[in-house]
């Protein structure tokens, strides 16, 4: 997945498990940036009676570095609170829920938003909103008969022209998970897989891609902020080449250190908050960080990511591709074999430092030499009029890895990059294999398809991720 259940410890704590992070210039409000942090992976829409919700004891954050030091200068904090109307019933709702204050809705959540500005050692906290209603989960035509209206009512306008939403959404990330994690079966050369000597596997007859998440939901924290509220100098960015135009974004979740279970089913928490999950670029902890370091990665701040740099400069998957597909990636195989030893400055730039000016005409999202896994967005780049789901690889500089839009095919982009598709940008002596640019998931009809299989319900306006799948309409597979 993008970052769903990507590490052993966090896979056991879904409400604190960050799954995807998006950051993009809002296409319909181009003076603003939309930031979306998703949590609670793989929600089956019919998962009642205890339908999904945020963690009441989790501190959720969206962090912004706007001065290229890998540290947050702006933190948006989100805290959630449960409210149970009638503890005497097992039901989530005792009748149709037709408003966010409907007494039929038995278990609801509200949340608060606090912005923290950090200037050196001085912090300033501003509460932007309290007791903001989340929408219910989308249960079905009897329980949530007017779901789009319910969800729309949960978009809150705050002071400073900030908008916020927190609640269930349709999963927007798409991936053929069953294929990729079956020892790297990749289209379009699945028939060339070495298969470890196995015969009659059937993988040569793969049909169209299977979107593993197409019937699943997720919980989103979305905030839309005027650009000038995110820049270091407080002015709206206008020059692509300016450092002031670039922000680095990551989300993190925290829990208090100690939890003690009482004998009566309750529990208490104590101690300072510690980071249990974090996410900048998709697939980093999932695919680049080895098993023995995944939990440690989730506990560390991005500013210290130089300690993990070797996993970026010599990624294991880049080594495996020529082994899994003999003869398909000959140039990558030669590069891997060296000498010199592999030094994937392309992956380091894309994921750890941003792409400096001069490599791609009219584009940069460089944040200096501090290596940190941040989703970097150059806010001076306008939304694309003809967006490509392959983002920067499709010459669409408004897409990943310049931030990330909901429809970007990040799996294809990162697989192609790992296969060496853009290595020549930093190593002119390298010529990419043709196969590197051919990798696809079989989930889109082409680069201009921004309504991938199962995600047709993206919205054109905030919060952009679609109406969640109804439990009645989309039963478990």
């Amino acid at each position: 997945m993008s970052s769903h259940r990507e590490a052993p410890e966090i896979s056991k704590d879904p409400v604190a498990d960050s799954t995807d992070l998006y950051a993009f210039v809002s296409p319909d409000e181009p003076d603003t940036v939309t930031l979306i942090a998703n949590y609670v992976p793989l929600e089956g829409p019919d998962g009642g009676p205890n339908f999904y919700e945020f963690g009441e004891e989790v501190l959720y954050t969206i962090n912004i570095d706007n001065d290229a030091d890998g540290q947050a200068e702006i933190v948006y904090q989100f805290r959630f609170e449960n409210h149970v109307t009638n503890p005497g019933t097992f039901l989530y709702n005792t009748g149709p829920v037709q408003s966010l204050t409907d007494p039929n809705w038995n278990r609801r959540q509200t949340f608060s938003v606090t912005r923290v500005d950090i200037d050196g050692g001085r912090t300033t906290s501003t509460v932007l909103g309290t007791e903001l209603a989340c929408p219910p989960c989308n249960i079905g035509p009897l329980s949530t008969p007017t779901y789009p209206a319910l969800a729309a009512a949960a978009v809150h306008s705050l002071a400073g022209d900030v908008r916020v939403f927190a609640g269930q959404r349709a999963e927007g990330f798409y991936v053929d998970l069953g294929s990729i994690f079956d020892l790297g079966i990749l289209r379009p050369f699945e028939q060339d897989h070495a298969t470890f000597g196995l015969q009659g596997t059937g993988i040569g007859q793969m049909a169209a891609g299977v979107n593993a998440t197409k019937a699943l939901n997720v919980h989103s924290i979305a905030i839309q902020v005027p650009k000038e509220q995110l820049t270091a100098n407080g002015r709206a960015p206008s020059q692509v080449s300016s450092a002031n135009s670039v922000i680095g974004v990551w989300t993190a979740a925290y829990r208090q250190k100690v939890r003690v279970h009482d004998d009566d089913g309750g529990h208490v928490w104590a101690g300072p908050y510690v980071q249990v999950s974090r996410l900048g670029n998709p697939l980093v902890n999932e695919v680049l960080i080895p098993m023995g370091s995944k939990d440690y990665w989730n506990s560390q701040a991005p500013a210290g990511d130089s300690r993990f740099a070797s996993f970026f400069s010599n990624p294991q998957l880049a080594q495996l591709l020529p082994v899994l597909y003999p003869g398909v990636f000959p140039k990558l195989a030669a590069y891997n074999a060296g000498p010199p030893a592999p030094n994937r400055a392309d992956m380091v730039a894309i994921l750890l430092t941003g792409i400096p000016a001069g490599l791609i005409p009219g584009f940069q999202n460089f944040t200096g030499t501090t290596q940190a896994d941040l989703l970097r967005l150059n806010m001076a780049i306008a939304p694309a009029s003809n967006p490509q789901n392959t983002g920067l690889l499709g010459n669409d500089v408004a897409g990943f890895p310049n931030g990330r839009r909901v429809f970007d095919d990040v799996v294809t982009i990162e697989l192609r990059a790992l296969a060496g598709a853009v290595l020549s940008l930093v190593d002119p002596a390298f010529t990419p294999d043709g196969a590197a640019g051919a990798i696809h998931q079989g989930l889109t009809s082409g680069p201009s398809d921004v309504a991938a299989m199962g995600t047709e319900n993206y919205l054109n306006a905030f919060p952009y991720l679609g109406i969640p799948h109804s439990g009645f309409s989309v039963p478990a597979a």
């Binding site: 912090t123 250190k257 104590a270």
Partner: protein, 96 residues
């Protein structure tokens, strides 16, 4: 910790505080935690009663290393690390 109440725990003589006010790693969290987090190290401080700490939130002690007497004490959103082998041994005996 059974049988060791918060008040008696703090009241049994001197607790040598080796490091206090361990800051959370949460960016900007100091605004949530408040002044308690800004305490500096307080060498050999003696806590006679519990009045400086919250009475309304759980207090949990974690003996990290019985040989060095390193104990993490959690209260509210604070963690204070003590080094007190005698106290660590008393807690060990209490747990048996």
């Amino acid at each position: 910790m059974a049988g060791v109440s918060r008040r008696t725990f703090l009241g049994r003589g001197s607790l040598a505080v080796a490091a206090a006010g361990v800051l959370s790693a949460v960016p900007g969290l100091s605004g949530l935690i408040g002044a308690a987090e800004t305490e500096g190290p307080a060498a050999d401080a003696t806590v006679a009663d519990g009045t400086a700490a919250s009475l309304t939130e759980p207090l949990v002690a974690h003996v990290r290393d019985i040989s060095t007497g390193e104990i993490s004490v959690f209260n509210g959103t604070r963690e204070v690390i003590l080094r007190d082998p005698q106290l660590a041994n008393r807690l060990l005996r209490a747990a048996r």
